[in-house]
Every structure is written in structure tokens, then in C-alpha cells.
Symmetry: C2
């Protein structure tokens, strides 16, 4: 048994167990113990819990705006709702004492469960979002009493759900058919139909005569019966959910899926798919079971947040709640996609096709703001139209909303997507993808950038003005280095794509998007003359023009003393960080993360050392990037410290759930995706450059060894690194990635060969 | 007798009289009744008053920064300080009852006086800032009692002065010589020496034996004597002030000037110079004595704010207090200079030479902010270095300073100065001025603009981004139309100057400032392709890009309801006006004011009608501009309404003295300068275009006639306009301005000819 927190342990490194019910922690536990499948996310709450306990089942592709401001995913009616009364006393984990209660999430198969004892009852429940049929969540409750009791089960659908910004479901229509209960409702803004169905089996009890009633947005059946001593009662429920964005008649689909359901069969099928997942994605860490658990936990959250059934966004909080609107940020490409890219490129491809499908939304955004091409949404839902409201945070002191400019000044999202397209193409040589999807995106991104960039005639160079880099506390800056470099690569790749595409294919795409000769010339001109901030004499690159002239507060955290209220927003337009060099998150450092080849290690080191102490790490995207760069620059202790910061963000609940009056809690999906990268790109030092595999391993002190799999060019490579040596194992030899470079030494890649890199 | 306010009257239209002492109004009355001469401004307070009564004598060219933030003029020790005790009771206007007290400012000769009765004493005092010797303020106190009394006079120097931002004077050294008292002090930041001297004559009393003492920053002599019934006692004091920015040894100069002083002689010399002033600048308004008084009052304030003795700035609050730092804004060129341009061009030239003398400061500002050429200071003192602090206002709710961008984004000040240079040159044909001063300014301004402007390659045009127009509530905008047009004219005039200058002169100037061929080409290129926002279908020009997309609140004043506190700042970064179309002051309308020839009257009218209801008029620069344009567009009632708003700003104290926590009270010198323009450019419709005089008179209902003088090409023209006809009288006929256009009809200009324009 290994402790993560006082009340949080793991046994084998495959499960997290919460000991003792803590009412104040339910908003966290609900996210942390959730189950999901990329289509829906069901929070790790008990069957009897409701909105006051932050119960919720968030379903992708149900975006709706109820308050005229925040478009968010619906929390659908909870069809697993079950209250059990034993001799008229309600069973509830809230009443169990610490030792008798445990909540558990099994990462191996995504089963989340709760068990407790409330004399004379031993209660346990478990559920999982099926990976086999993503519309179903099977739930099993088992009750055992050591004496004869009178049991009452009130079960059905609870439509009185938790929402962040307004009620999304109206015209809730409850009904029952063949002893199953259902609820159909219409979404507030877009009038989508959402149907949930509850199918229940209680041991061998006939439910057909049990009374059903509708009351206060709940539609429930009450079943009463007596139990013998030591009799085990099983209540199995299946929640099935469809909505009209998937299918024409959601309720009919629910009903169709309700036939021939078997809990154990569904469990087995689910277990099997999870087994396959872990074969691809698992990382073993020998020597520290908590860290191993934490990485797995993050990978688990990353997987269940990814809608591999469709081309839909990976939400910045996955499907754990409505925060960040169930929508994709740049996190998707930069933090979540790389694990798939190197282990399951088909999923990466699907994620990128989502960006292709949302090109029109990005075009609309560009046009609306006076630009051309594709300006990707900062917060992107199904259509790619911008979901980020103009006023994101508020001034908690005056109560006035703040006009944040995430949605109109943070342009780097666009070249970040072009970058990922290229990452995928370069790794896979998937010409068809480039032709059918990638080229158009890259061109439209370059087109947008060419409509945003400005030329300074006296400097004879192109610049980006009035933009916002990854460090969101400093809005409205000039030449954010990260943005300028990303834009530069976008133009480079656009020109490269033109070379790669066959004349015929280029011609077709050019015609489709009306790409003209003068535009290509303009891309070349901008590529040639775009201002790329260079390291200064100390080797440090200025984050944006005049950044070095800002007040220098070291360490950054000292600015906390200037807060008037703890919950106020630090950034634009008048927060405590704005006029200082204190930055929210990795910005320049992010550049070395996405382009490890760009600068010599001395420069990276100088920048790491300058910016680390000026970074507040108030974004969950920050520690992982610093960890990876610290691994590269020989700051192993700091690499591990930031690794820990990142992988335990959710498990240890280290980040603020509310900022500037806006709820931003839930699972930090980018950090989830970053866990894999911190091991593989960070500690193992993996990168691909010029079709060669690079590894440059360093291990934190406590770790004995790590091992993980890469899937490159149709081949699985197992990498095992211990404190003395490393080994790569694979089945067949590849043409493309046949060379390995470890710490500047070139090796021919042979399976099983042992290399001593230290 | 005509009332202006209940306690404010005029008799002849040449004086303002305040009846009844009002403690709460002293900060206003002190400014309104002040005397001055462009070198110093002495507030209209009583001789016994001190800092708590906002007494003050502000001297130009004494800029000093005591608090590390605000550079402001010094309030020098008050050498007119005089307390009088009658039978041990102090005489004070505060103790006089309403009917027995009056404060008076005689505009005819700049004498400010106070008189009151405090039984048994009849008290009166008067003083004036000498125009003959600008270092001297003579003061005469007369006391008469109807019975025998014991009088005690405590007089000398009060160095405990009122300051807005820190004490500027340190090491105050008091002393006396030849029965005269003096104070020498050193300024806090720049270590300038300031000397004041007090010379006193009390009837025929010998002062040599009176005790002198120093106490609490006061250095006083006490003189005691008895008076007979009905004896008149006269206390004459001369305050003399010099500082080390003028002369090497200020005290010596004070002493030199103290010889042979005679109050009556100084008065006579002063009266004579004022008489000459009024011959040039006076406007007669027949039919409304208050309005006539008000215009005169504004002209008076404009004159005493103008340092014609030197090339120094006209302060935005003149020399009435320390607000706005005794420094020049664009107000100087656009609001104050035109009266001089058309009546006394030598003064206008001096004002422009001030801008020439501060070119280096403007160059330093440009360089510091990453630009080239001359970026004139938003708040300009002696050197032209930027005096505007980064944090001008504060958020009164949170107490946090606000980073206003007057000092780095409000670029139109630069082309505004080039514009005035051209106005002067065009009117006077003063080639020597253009060669020796103007050309260099115009080139350096164009150079700055060419380093700020950006080229948008896909639009094939130049734009200005991240700027701030005259409407300061909307900082950080693109293509503020006023700015773009002013920049356009700057480039035009730069190119025109190149044509006008002789090859030799151009060569010399080019060499001096290293103006190269490619730069001139660039000026041409920008001139050709600069984006000039055009009227939309309704004829309205958008104030800046996307302005029309902002929330439309009509009338603008409705946004007041959104205030949390009355004294909060309305603008950037989160004030109530920022996200609405409510604007602080004339912006587009300002464009028609400076370029009346630019658009047809229909366009001007459409813009007037659109923007008037969206303007808050929260700048004292706003109503006058609207008045002038309203005169042109046939909105005579509104023209008069805004004229009234502008000319009574100070007399009726209509504007806020504090905004966003910063004191901005005192005389609104721009409005003072605008009074003349509202009559001449507004109601009389005067402009010069293509060397022709245009007049297009309209008169407010109550006015019977107006008359004023213009001084063009060495010739004085008297213009008399009544409700039926107009007449121009002059001595000799000019070549240059020999044609007159009145309402589209061309007239040969003959003296005394009557034209019926209506």
C-alpha cells in the first residue's frame, strides 16, 4: 500500500482508493474517480447523489448556450439514480464512518466503485462507461445485510442536474416502456433532443407493479421488499444515452440498445478493450509505485477524454464537468496528441481531421475579425466557431467582467495546429492525409497569418503585433517569440507542402481554396523576412518586445503579496502580474518543447534558468513543459519536481478551481496528456529528427527503470531504460527509423541490443 | 449688472465680481480670479491666505519631481503673505458677511482684488502680475478705520506652500537685506535655485526696527502701530521671483529689480500693455454682456497662460495650479495657437519654436519606445521629454494605478504639431521659419510616423495599429481616423516642404538629420497607400476599426448609470465607456475642425449628428469643437449651447476637478483658447483656403453683433457682423488675401464694404 495523500492510496499501481467520505472534497473526487469513454463522462459519485454532490454525466457534442454567454456540454439526466432505504433509513456514504467507506477507481478497466458499511448493511456499487458500446453505462449495486430487513429502492432518472451556466434541458418528458424509464429533453439553445434510458434489474424481483412517479425533475420507481439475513441483493442498472446530433431518433436507439444486456458480458468486453489500450499506452515505472500510478492515472484520463468514436474535440477538462466548455484548446494538439502520434497514429489522425472538419468555423472567425484564411478558435467545439466569450473572467473586486482577449489575440493556436499536422505527416509519410486534409489546413493557416502579420518598412521585416502568447497574463504584446517561431514554421511547411504535393493535387487544392501565385510569393516573402527574436548576450530570448523592461520580481510568487483578494485574476487588464516579468506558464520554454532541434543546449539552459524563477505555473500546462526541458538541461531534480507537480495536479488537487470568478475545476486533460510526454520526451529524451530516433535518458533518483512502447512506421518498439543501460526491442527492422542516436552516438538499431548511455 | 452665477456678476463685461466669501469654493475662485503673465501665475487669494486656502504662485520652467512620478511646476514661497490684526483681531475675508465682501478680477488690466468690511475696518487689497517686468507682482492693501485702533501687520514670506505631489523645495534659506525679506530654496529633484524677495512699504512707517522671525516655514516681520480715526493705511508689497533656469544668481536679480519700484508706475505700464493686448485679441459681443465677458475672460486666461517671454509650453491648466504639470499637450497647437496665428503670428511662431527646441526630447521618446524621428511628448515640459507618467489615473475601487497609454499610444500629437507648423507657414509664407525650424520638425514627424505605421501586405495599404485617438476612453485601437488623416497630411506636407525648400537648404537639413533618398521614397509610398477611413453609406466615418461594433448607448450619458463610484475613470482598461460607443470628446468631429476643407458639408453634418449624441463631453476640449462644427452644419442652437458649455467651464465650474483619483482642476486653458475660435471660426465661419478669406456668419439668437480683428499679412482687418450685414475694414489692400468668399460668393475685398450674407 502506498499513500498518495492521507486518504488516497494505491495497492498495485493500478488503482486509486479513497478512504473515508469527505463532503468538502466531492467536487474533486467526482472528477478524479470518474469513468468515461470519450463519448460520455460519468463522475465518480454514488448512485444516490445528485446536483448538490456534483453528480454528472457530460456527453460530447451537446453544446448549448443557456445564458447567452457560455456554450457548454449538457449534463444529461442521470439514469443511474438509485436511493436505497433499509428499514426506512437511507443508505449513503455520507453516513458511513471513515474506516467503513472506500471509493475506488480501477485504471485497468475503468471501473469506478464505492463501498461502505452502514449497519446492518454492506453496500457496494460499481459502474463503468462501456468502451464497447459508448452509449451505455452499466452499474451494479450489491447489498448484503446480516439480518432480515425491509428494503426500499427508489430508482430512476434524476433530471435536476448540476450546471455551471444555466439550465440546458427544457421540455423534459419522462415516460416508461417495458419496465424501463426514460427521459427525453430538448436543449435550450440548439433544440437538440437528448434521450436517456434507465433499465433496471433487481435480483429476481418483478418490477412491473412498482409505482412510478414524477416529482421535482425526478422520475422514479419505488420497489419495496424484504431481505433475509445474509441475502445478497443485486441492483443492476444500465444508463443508455443518445442525442440527436448522433442519430435521428435518440430514444429509439436507447430502446434498441436496451435489448439483451448482460452486465458481466459488458464488463468482459470492456476489460478487453482496456487491456489493448494499456498494451499501447502504459508506462511502467519500477521503483516508485505512486509515480507509476500517477502516470497511469493521467493516461487513463487522457484516454477517456478522447472521442475516438468521432472527430470531435478533446475537452480541456475532458468530460469531467462543464468547465472550459468541453471544448478543445491548443492543449489538444500540443499536450494530448503526441502520445497517440507515437503509439496509435490513427487516433492522432482523427484528432487532426477534427481540425479539418472545423476549418469553416476557423474561416468564419478569421473573417469576422477582419482576417483571411483560418483563424482557429481558442475554444473550439463541434463547428470550430469561437466559443470563448469576450468576457471570460471578472474583476472580483469590482464585479465587472474582464474583456480577456484569448479569443481574438491569442493567434498561436493556428500555427500550432499546422505544426501538429506536420508532426503527423513527417512521422507517418501519410501523403493521402496531407493531400486530403493537411495541406488545406496548412495553407489556410499560413493565409491567416499572412493577413495578420504586418510589415515594418523601416526595419524591412514582418512582425506580429497586438497578440497574446501562451503566457496569458501578458495580453496585447508584440512579437511573442513562441508565436513568431510557430508562424515561421507554418510558412516553411506551407512552402514545403507545395513542393511535396503532386502538381495535380496542388492544383486541385489551390483551386478549391483559391490559392493564388501571388499568395505563395507572399508566403515566401514573409518566411524570408519574419522577425525571429534571437537570444541576447546571456543567451536569453525575450518573451516579447520590451518584456525585459517590465518589473523583475523573482521569484514570481512574490507578487502574491500584492493581491487584494486571493481569487482575483493575475493578468490583463490590471492584475498583479501584468506589469511584471512574472508569467503564468511556460512561454519561451514551450518553444524548446515543440522544437527541441531549434537551439543549442546552452541557449535552452540559459532560458530555462532565466524563466523558471519568473514562472508562476498557474496553468496546468506549465510544469510538464518545464519538466521536459529540465530533463534536457540536466536539472534532473527540477525535472522530477515539475513532473510531480504535473502528474498529481488532479490526484492531489493542487490547482485553483476558481479564477477571476470563473469555475475552472475538473480534470486537467492537458496535464493528463503531458504525463506520457514527460517520461518519453523528458526523462527518456526521445525525439525524431531526420528520420532518426533520438534517446537521451536520465532517471530521477528513486526510479529503478522505466519502460514504454513506441509505434513507429507500423512497428512496435519497446524501450526499457534502467539506471545502467537501455534496451530497445522490436519485431522487424524498419527502413525509416533504422538509426538511433543516444547522447550524440549513432547506433544501428538492432532488437535487444543493450546500450549504455550514461 | 449681469449675473453669471448667483454670486458672480459683471458690470461692464470687463470684470467679474464674486459676492460673498465661500470657503468651499476657494479652490475654484483662486484659479478664476488669478493674475498672471506667462511667467508666473498668482492665484486670486487674499494676502493672509495660505496652503489650506490653495494660495499659490506657480512659476514656469521650474519642473521638479518630488514623488518620483509627477514632474510639476513649483509653487514658490509666497512673498505677498500679509496678516493684519486690528485690536488683536485678525482681518480676514472669511469673517466678513456676504454683503461686505467682494472679489474682483479686472480683465482690462489683470488686476485682481478683494475688499471687505470688518467693523471698524474697511479692507481692500489688489495685485497684478506685471506684464512690464514679469518677475514682479505688486500688491497694495488699503485699510481704513473709523476709529482709533491698534494695528499689527505680520508680513513676509510663507514657504509652507500647497503641492499636489510632494514638496519641491528643500533647504529653504530665509534672510533679509535692506529691510527686504527673501527666501532662497533648492528644488528637490533638479536642484534649481528659486529666490523670492518681499519688499514692503507701509505708509510712512520705518520698518527697520520691526522684529523678524522664522517659524514653521514662514519668515515674517511684525510691525505694530496705532491709527487714527479715518486714517488710511497703505501696505504695498512687491513680490519678486527669479530662478536659476533663467539667471545665474536669482537672488541678485531679485535685489536688482527691487530698486526704485513705484506701484503706480508699474500699474500704468501694465495697463498699457493690456490695452495693446485687447486691441489685438478682444471680441465684442453686442447683445449679451455675460457672453462677451465670458469670451474676454477666456481670452484673458489664454493670454496669461502663454509664456511669450520665452519658448516654453502653454500649460493645460496654464499657471493656475500644478494639475497637468504646467506642461503642453496638443491643446497648445490646436486650441491656443490659432488665436495668435490670426492676430499675432509672432507669438504663434514662438510657440512653434518651443516645439523646435524640444525636438531632441521628442527624438529621445521615439528612440526609447523603439521608433525613429520625433515622437512628441503627450505632456511636454521644457525639454520635450515625456512627463506623462505610465500610471495616470487609478482604479478608485481597487486603489490600483491604471496603466493609461496617453504617453505611448496617443501618437496624433506628432502630426498635430506638423499640422500647426504648416498652418503657420501657409498663412505667413515665412520661408525662414520653414527653413530654420519647420522643415526639420515636419521631416522628423514624418520619420516617426513612418517608423510606426505598418504595411498590411494583403490589403496593400499602410495602417496605424495600437494607437489612441483624441477620444482617450478607447485606447489601443486601429486606424483612428483622426490620426490617420493627420498622419497623411504630415506626409503630404513633408513632401511639399521638399519641393518648397531650395536645393541648398534641403541639402543642409537633410545632412543635419541624415534624411536619405530612400526615406523620401518611403514617405511617398506611405502617402500613396495610407489607409484613410471613408464615410459609410450614411456618410459617417468610423472613429476607428470596429467602433461601430461596440455597444451603442444613446445618449452617451446613459452609461453613468453603470458607475460603481461617481469618481471612477470611464475609460481604459475597464471603465464603463470602454466597450460602448460612448466617447469622451470630439474625435472624428475634431477632424472637420482642423480640416474644414476635407469633406462636403453633408458628410460633416452626418458625422455631427451621429457622434454628438455619443459624446460625453468629458474633456474641456470637446464642446468648443462641437460648437464650431454645429455652426457650420446649421445647428445654431447646439452651436450656442456648446459655446456656453465651453466658455463657462471655469466661471461656472462645470467640470470635475478629480478623475480616477487624480486632481485635474484649475483653468482649462484649451477651452480658454477655444473661445476665440468658436466666435471666429464657428459663428463667423472664418477660414483661409487657397489664400482666400472665407466667412460664413451665423449668429446666436440673442446676439446683435460681433466684431473682432484679424491680422493677416501685416494688415489688421476689423470684421463686424450683425444680424443683417457684415463689414470688413482695413487700412491697406493686401496682395495675398485680396479675395473674400462669403457663402460661396466671391467678393473683391474692399475696406468698409458692406456684404449681406444672410
Amino acid at each position: 500500500m502506498k499513500k498518495i495523500l492521507d486518504n488516497l492510496i494505491t495497492l498495485s499501481g493500478w488503482e486509486i482508493i479513497e478512504k473515508g467520505y469527505d463532503k468538502s472534497g466531492v467536487i474533486i473526487s467526482g472528477s478524479n474517480f470518474m469513468t468515461g469513454n470519450g463519448y460520455l463522462g460519468y463522475r465518480g459519485t454514488a448512485a444516490e447523489e445528485g446536483k448538490e454532490d456534483y453528480a454528472g454525466c457530460f456527453v460530447t457534442d451537446t453544446w448549448d448556450k443557456a445564458d447567452g454567454k457560455w456554450e457548454e456540454l449538457c449534463n444529461v439526466p442521470n439514469a443511474l439514480f438509485t436511493e436505497i432505504y433499509c428499514d426506512d433509513i437511507k443508505l449513503s456514504p455520507k453516513k458511513a464512518t471513515v474506516n467503513e467507506y472506500q471509493r475506488k477507481l480501477n485504471l485497468k478497466n475503468g471501473v469506478t466503485s464505492i463501498s461502505f458499511i452502514m449497519e446492518p448493511v454492506q453496500f457496494s456499487e460499481e459502474k463503468f462507461a462501456s468502451l464497447f458500446n459508448i452509449h451505455i453505462i452499466p452499474q451494479k449495486i450489491t447489498i448484503k445485510t446480516d439480518r432480515k430487513t425491509k428494503l426500499k429502492v427508489v430508482e430512476g432518472i434524476d433530471a435536476d442536474v448540476w450546471n455551471l451556466n444555466g439550465n440546458h434541458l427544457k421540455e423534459i418528458k419522462f415516460g416508461n416502456i417495458d419496465d424501463m424509464l426514460y427521459a427525453e429533453s430538448i436543449t435550450c439553445e440548439k433544440a437538440q433532443t437528448i434521450a436517456v434510458l434507465s433499465k433496471t434489474v433487481i435480483s429476481n424481483i418483478d418490477l412491473s407493479n412498482s409505482p412510478i412517479e414524477e416529482k421535482a425533475y425526478k422520475y422514479t420507481r419505488t420497489v419495496e421488499f424484504e431481505t433475509d439475513a445474509n441475502q445478497e441483493i443485486t441492483i443492476i442498472k444500465y444508463m443508455i444515452c443518445y442525442h440527436s446530433n448522433n442519430v435521428k431518433n435518440p430514444l429509439e436507439h436507447c430502446l434498441a440498445d436496451s435489448k439483451n444486456l448482460n452486465y458481466n458480458d459488458l464488463r468482459k468486453l470492456n476489460d478487453k478493450i482496456w487491456e489493448e489500450n494499456w498494451r499501447r499506452y502504459d508506462i511502467e515505472i519500477n521503483g516508485n509505485i505512486q509515480d507509476e500510478l500517477a502516470v497511469r492515472y493521467n493516461t487513463y484520463q487522457s484516454i477517456i477524454a478522447t472521442p475516438i468514436h468521432d472527430s470531435l474535440p478533446v475537452g480541456a477538462r475532458g468530460l469531467s464537468c462543464q468547465a472550459y466548455q468541453g471544448a478543445a484548446f491548443w492543449d489538444q494538439e500540443i499536450f494530448n496528441l503526441p502520445m497517440y502520434l507515437f503509439t496509435n497514429p490513427e487516433v492522432a489522425k482523427k484528432m487532426l481531421i477534427y481540425r479539418y472538419n472545423t476549418l469553416d468555423g476557423a474561416r468564419r472567425k478569421a473573417k469576422r475579425l477582419g482576417y483571411e484564411g483560418a483563424y482557429y478558435a481558442w475554444i473550439s467545439g463541434k463547428t470550430g466557431d469561437e466559443l470563448c466569450p469576450d468576457f471570460f473572467f471578472k474583476d472580483v473586486i469590482t464585479g465587472r467582467p474582464i474583456r480577456n482577449h484569448f479569443n481574438d489575440w491569442q493567434i498561436h493556436i493556428t500555427p500550432d495546429i499546422a505544426y501538429s499536422i506536420w508532426q503527423y505527416y513527417e512521422l507517418t509519410d501519410d501523403y493521402e492525409f496531407l493531400r486530403d486534409y493537411g495541406a488545406e489546413i496548412i495553407f489556410e493557416c499560413a493565409r491567416f497569418l499572412s493577413s495578420h502579420v504586418v510589415y515594418k518598412p523601416r526595419k524591412d521585416r514582418y512582425e506580429f503585433v497586438k497578440i497574446q502568447g501562451p503566457d496569458e497574463y501578458h495580453e496585447n504584446v508584440e512579437n511573442n517569440a513562441f508565436t513568431n517561431y510557430q508562424a515561421y514554421f507554418n510558412f516553411e511547411k506551407a512552402l514545403r507542402t507545395i513542393e511535396i504535393l503532386s502538381d495535380n493535387d496542388l492544383d486541385k487544392i489551390s483551386k478549391k481554396i483559391n490559392l493564388l501565385e501571388w499568395e505563395i510569393k507572399l508566403f515566401k516573402e514573409i518566411y524570408r523576412k519574419l522577425y525571429l527574436p534571437q537570444p541576447n548576450e546571456e543567451g536569453v530570448i525575450e518573451q516579447f518586445d520590451h518584456y525585459f523592461m517590465l518589473e523583475d520580481v523573482v521569484p514570481a510568487s512574490k507578487i502574491k503579496e500584492r493581491l487584494i483578494r486571493d481569487d482575483e485574476y493575475y493578468g490583463w487588464p490590471n492584475g498583479v502580474a501584468l506589469f511584471t516579468q512574472s508569467i503564468k506558464q511556460a512561454d519561451i520554454i514551450q518553444l524548446f518543447f515543440v522544437h527541441p532541434e531549434l537551439f543549442e543546449i546552452d541557449i535552452i539552459k540559459a532560458n530555462y534558468e532565466y524563466y523558471e524563477s519568473r514562472t508562476l505555473h498557474f496553468s496546468s500546462l506549465s510544469p510538464s513543459v518545464y519538466s521536459i526541458i529540465a530533463s534536457r538541461t540536466g536539472h534532473i531534480d527540477e525535472a522530477y519536481k515539475n513532473f510531480v507537480k504535473s502528474v498529481y495536479i488532479d490526484l492531489k488537487n493542487t490547482n485553483e478551481a476558481i479564477s477571476g470568478g470563473t469555475f475552472i475545476g475538473g480534470i486537467h486533460t492537458a496535464a493528463s496528456g503531458a504525463a506520457w510526454q514527460m517520461i518519453v520526451k523528458g526523462f527518456a529524451g526521445f525525439k525524431i529528427q531526420n528520420e532518426q530516433i533520438y534517446l537521451d535518458p536520465v532517471l530521477p533518483e528513486e526510479w529503478k527503470s522505466i519502460s514504454f512502447n513506441l509505434f513507429l512506421d507500423g512497428n512496435t518498439y519497446q524501450i526499457i531504460i534502467d539506471r545502467k543501460e537501455m534496451k530497445i526491442q522490436f519485431e522487424k527492422r524498419n527502413e525509416k527509423y533504422s538509426k538511433l542516436i543516444v547522447k550524440d552516438t549513432l547506433y544501428a538499431l538492432n532488437t535487444g541490443k543493450t546500450i549504455i548511455p550514461f
